[in-house]
Point group: C2
Chain length 219, copies 2
Amino acid sequence: VNGLSQNQIDNGTAARGDKGPIDFYFDFISPYGYLASLRIEELAARHGASVRWYPILLGVTVLKVMGLRPVMETPLKRDYVEAEVARYCRRHGMSLNRPLAAAPMNPLPVARMFSWLSRHAPAYAVPYAKQALHRYWQEGLAVDTRDALLAAAAAAGIDESVALRAIESPEAKSHLIQDVDAAVARGVFGSPFFLVGGEPFFGVDKLELIDEWLTCGGW
Amino acid sequence: VNGLSQNQIDNGTAARGDKGPIDFYFDFISPYGYLASLRIEELAARHGASVRWYPILLGVTVLKVMGLRPVMETPLKRDYVEAEVARYCRRHGMSLNRPLAAAPMNPLPVARMFSWLSRHAPAYAVPYAKQALHRYWQEGLAVDTRDALLAAAAAAGIDESVALRAIESPEAKSHLIQDVDAAVARGVFGSPFFLVGGEPFFGVDKLELIDEWLTCGGW
């Protein structure tokens, strides 16, 4: 790694054995978050690190906290994002089957269910998130109705009784608020966003840098 | 390159001999633009490509056209940018000698002078930009007074008579407006922004991807 002092490299080496988890934040309606979800676990596994998945809501972070506009309603950025996502997909052999310019689904039901599962049936939370993301981005299905939530849960191997508890739980809403507030408190604002031993990385473009960071122990 | 069909790779190889210029857009007050300016020419030279430097104004693109806020006035993003820029500098053995949270200089005088030089003394435009960027980011000097503009010009080997013509020219203002309008018309919004054979790349994080793009001829 260029530009590192020997001291920094030594510190990095010393830390190398201790690979904490990668905290991965995503919004279900973020294409970049979805693309990152397809790569983060392989990356982490290569470094012997685990991944903790956390939901965020761009409607809270970007719109309310930061006071910005939705990316797909921002002139210039909108067109750029379409070109960039298509290029990223070609580069990594991925595809999206949903037009980015179309109105997104309501992300609240699926994110609430994910927050509920993370607490009450944690082994199923990530499989559920993957199913929901796949349905939304690959099958073009809005995962924001009771039926769609149940179908994603069933595909993730979740008993219908558990899925119904999640969907009907009055707690799920406050679980999600808690998760988003906790993310904001940690400085998280976008999707994907990663915290690697507390070090913040924003954007799917950072996966290669995280790889390098984990390889050399940071700098 | 993963995820590319043989056909795409062949097309890339076929195009490899024809390296057009890299169009590099930057705002003098953008730290990421400055950091990119320190790397883009080495990158381009390795591929036998030239670099064309163009000024933009984030006050026009980000604030007026996109309707967003200045990054350093955006909650969460502000802190992230400070951490990210510091990390980037450590990684690449670079440094900035200007607090990012401080109010930026007025970028208009230096950008106008650069637009004027680009048309009327083109051989001096990039050396002038480099001097101005260095003074601003390394020496902590605001390059927005007549004296500071003249000093940067002198350091770039520009005759004082030419520098005075640039500074006093009533045309410089319209040259810059023209440059920024042309950038926006090409979809450019941020700093740094690169167009490589028409392909848009936003952000200093894209330098590695541009390197890959030029190596394999795109995908």
